[in-house]
């Protein structure tokens, strides 16, 4: 077994990045746990219920999606279907082009990261400005988000203050209030100049066609209030059956994601501006994005589609805490990224990913919709090795496991190997698994006997 690239990336992370990620994720997890267990006798019952509701949706997407479309259309929205990332980008672009729009203000949406929308639009002469503070900082720095809900968890305030100074937003000042104030001053008139506003949606309710968007900064509300055209990019799995399900999901999402009782701004959008309403966008477009989701639906791991993108699994994950999101190959990082990426891109795209886990099970304990992430990681490991075997890759490792199985099904060989090993001492060297072990740790002294020797002498 070779040391994996992710391990090498992690080894090269600057100390201040490590500190920022570790502290940000740890505090998120600890506050979440306290809040859930202080407020609910048995939060696990809520997780079970939420998981069952989402699983029901996933199992019945074929009926929910047309139902949602019909509600949205009845509410006055236009519905678009995008099979791929490119189709989703094209859909946004064609809406903007038809309106002659040149400037777009964006609220935070992971789907737009997934389809790389901002790049696509900028190449076509459209400014797509991020208005979420974290995403704004990422955009200003030509960086990438490293966490589903805390995109700049890897940056500290000194780095942000320096970035703002360099970008002409004011002299160095790393006081968080001042950082926020400066972003606010910069962004405020951008809303007024914009031609359209783009958001995601945390949930879309089937019975009402209601879009639900949660933010802590109110920026998505500005995106809608200040522009005449609202475009919502939504993964096809974001559906909830009933409005009343929001009571459960908004409580769980806020606690699991940001350790709040409720996110500060919860918007419920039932359509574009109706006759007689004083304001709001005249046009509303909802783009449902597949981009690999139906492949996941067809797989054994469709429970992944329950995910509500809260980030709790990242915050609790000891591996994520040590390596941060940029060590992962795609926009989704941490445990959920480790199972989403192979599903969306194929298991051979980044075959080490499901192995970059100690299988400690912490993620499975916090997931608000009870996705069995550790089990899926194990299944993906098996899928990777089956693909390896088909493609005749990693044959040495395969041989190693076969030798292991042979020895472990021949007790006398196992016993003899132990005896020889104990008499010869630990092998040394800097290659292979032993080299990897010894790169960080010593080995214990070898005992004189095996246990079975002792047992026979009793």
């Amino acid at each position: 077994m070779r040391t994996q690239p992710i391990d090498q990336v992690a080894a090269g992370l600057p100390a201040e990045t490590k500190t920022a990620v570790y502290e940000g994720s740890k505090i998120g997890h600890e506050k979440r746990t306290k809040l859930l267990f202080d407020h609910y006798g048995d939060p696990n019952r809520l997780r079970t219920l939420a998981g069952e509701i989402k699983q029901h949706v996933v199992e019945n997407l074929d009926t929910y999606l047309p139902a949602v479309e019909a509600r949205l259309v009845a509410n006055g929205a236009k519905v678009h279907w995008a099979a791929t990332a490119e189709a989703a980008c094209e859909a946004v672009y064609s809406i903007l082009k038809a309106r002659g729009a040149k400037k777009l203000v964006k609220a935070k949406t992971m789907v737009s990261e997934e389809i790389e929308l901002a790049d696509y639009l900028e190449k076509r002469g459209i400014e797509a400005l991020e208005t979420d503070l974290g995403e704004f900082i990422v955009q200003l720095d030509h960086d990438h988000p490293s966490h589903i809900i805390k995109p700049i968890i890897h940056k500290n305030r000194r780095q942000i203050a320096e970035l703002f100074e360099k970008s002409g937003l004011g002299a160095y000042d790393d006081e968080p209030g001042m950082i926020t104030q400066r972003a606010r001053q910069f962004l405020r008139h951008k809303y007024l100049e914009a031609d359209a506003g783009l958001t995601g949606a945390n949930f879309v309710v089937a019975e009402s066609g209601r879009l639900v968007i949660v933010t802590n900064e109110g920026n998505s509300r500005f995106c809608l209030a200040a522009t005449r055209c609202h475009i919502a990019l939504v993964g096809i799995e974001k559906i909830l059956p009933r409005d009343r399900d929001l009571a459960l999901f908004l409580n769980l999402l806020a606690r699991s994601g940001t350790a709040q009782q409720l996110t500060v701004y919860n918007e419920f959008i039932l359509g574009p501006r109706a006759a007689g309403q004083p304001d709001g966008p005249d046009e509303m477009h909802v783009i449902f994005v597949d981009n690999g989701r139906t492949d996941v639906l067809a797989s054994d791991c469709r429970e992944i589609l329950r995910c509500i993108r809260c980030g709790a699994c990242l915050n609790t994950c000891p591996v994520y805490r040590k390596i941060g999101g940029h060590s992962f190959p795609w926009v989704y990082s941490g445990p959920i990224g480790a199972i989403l990426t192979p599903q969306f891109m194929g298991v051979q795209h980044e075959p080490a990913l499901p192995f970059a886990s100690s299988l400690c099970g912490a993620c499975g304990e916090v997931c608000p919709v009870k996705i069995d992430i550790p089990k899926i990681l194990l299944e993906l490991r098996s899928d990777v090795k089956k693909a390896d075997a088909r493609e005749h890759k990693n044959r040495l490792e395969k041989l190693g496991f076969r030798a292991f199985a042979w020895m472990m099904t021949h007790p006398r060989i196992f016993e003899m190997a132990g005896r020889i090993g104990r008499s010869m001492g630990w092998p040394s060297g800097n290659k292979g698994p032993m080299g990897a072990w010894l790169s960080e740790r010593d080995l214990p002294p070898l005992p004189a006997h095996s246990f079975r020797d002792l047992w026979r002498r009793r």
């Binding site: 400690c360 490792e397 079975r452």
Partner: protein, 254 residues
């Protein structure tokens, strides 16, 4: 409700010891202590000599064909109805969960699940299987208990904490971020040595902060990794499996 509840209650006192490959080959004293502890409780301990490994390394490595071969060998070796007791949360979890997962589409799933249902991690067996709530003897030590990840969702860690805390002279000290993994993770420790060591260093920092005399766990894998890291860094750290603690306490009975 724990993952290991709902299994057949323990009636007799005959048990089959699964020593684990690690203890059999490298930590003979842990398995020997397990026998002493079980015999103290009046158990009649059998050691099926055909035993080798539970198959977990190949299972976690993704080579389920190889792993299944080893699991089948284990199922044959531990035949009969007697409970199987194992001084490792990790090997126990392999037999409850892992083996069942990789045998999901195999004709002999039933036999594998059958072994899982009568397999007990040692601490869980003593407290929840036999109903023992306290431990005699004496050991003067401040003990930090590392809750190994494979005992999540089972009764093991609580059981071990209960037994240790009941020993005269033992003071349990809580370590920070106790729910965080030590970074061992089997093949993970050699596939991702840097991340594994970084996780281990965090655990060691928390352990050292509470200055225990002993770091105790129910999994020798975690202890081998942590003591190996400590030795490399020149940190003094005494580690013991809880079976050794229970055995040592027995030897100091008044």
């Amino acid at each position: 409700m724990t993952l290991t509840s709902g299994r057949a209650p323990v009636t007799g006192k005959r048990v089959q010891l699964m020593a684990t490959c690690l203890c059999d080959a490298f930590h003979d004293d842990v398995a020997a202590a397990t026998v002493e502890v079980l015999e103290h409780l009046g158990c009649e301990v059998a050691f099926p000599e055909g035993q080798t490994c539970c198959g977990q390394p190949a299972f976690n490595g993704g080579d389920w064909d190889s792993s299944r071969r080893v699991v089948r060998h284990t199922v044959r070796t531990f035949s009969g109805d007697d409970p199987v007791v194992v001084p490792s949360g990790s090997c126990a979890a392999m037999l409850f969960h892992g083996a069942a997962l990789e045998f999901e589409h195999e004709p002999d799933l039933g036999a594998v699940q059958g072994l899982g249902r009568r397999t007990w991690e040692l601490g869980d067996y003593i407290v929840n299987g036999l109903g023992v709530r306290s431990w005699p003897g004496r050991l003067d030590a401040a003990i930090a208990l590392h809750r190994s990840c494979h005992t999540r969702g089972t009764g093991s860690s609580e059981a071990v904490a209960l037994l240790l805390a009941s020993i005269d002279g033992v003071r349990l000290v809580e370590i920070g971020e106790a729910e965080q993994c030590c970074g061992f993770g089997g093949t993970f420790s050699v596939g991702f040595p840097h991340i594994s060591a970084a996780m281990g260093d965090l655990k060691l920092d928390h352990v050292r902060a509470v200055r225990p005399d002993l770091l105790v766990s129910g999994d020798t894998g975690c202890l081998m990794h942590l003591s190996g890291l400590a030795a490399r860094e020149g940190i003094k750290l005494r580690t013991m499996h809880f079976a050794q603690v229970l055995r040592d306490a027995l030897r100091k009975r008044g």
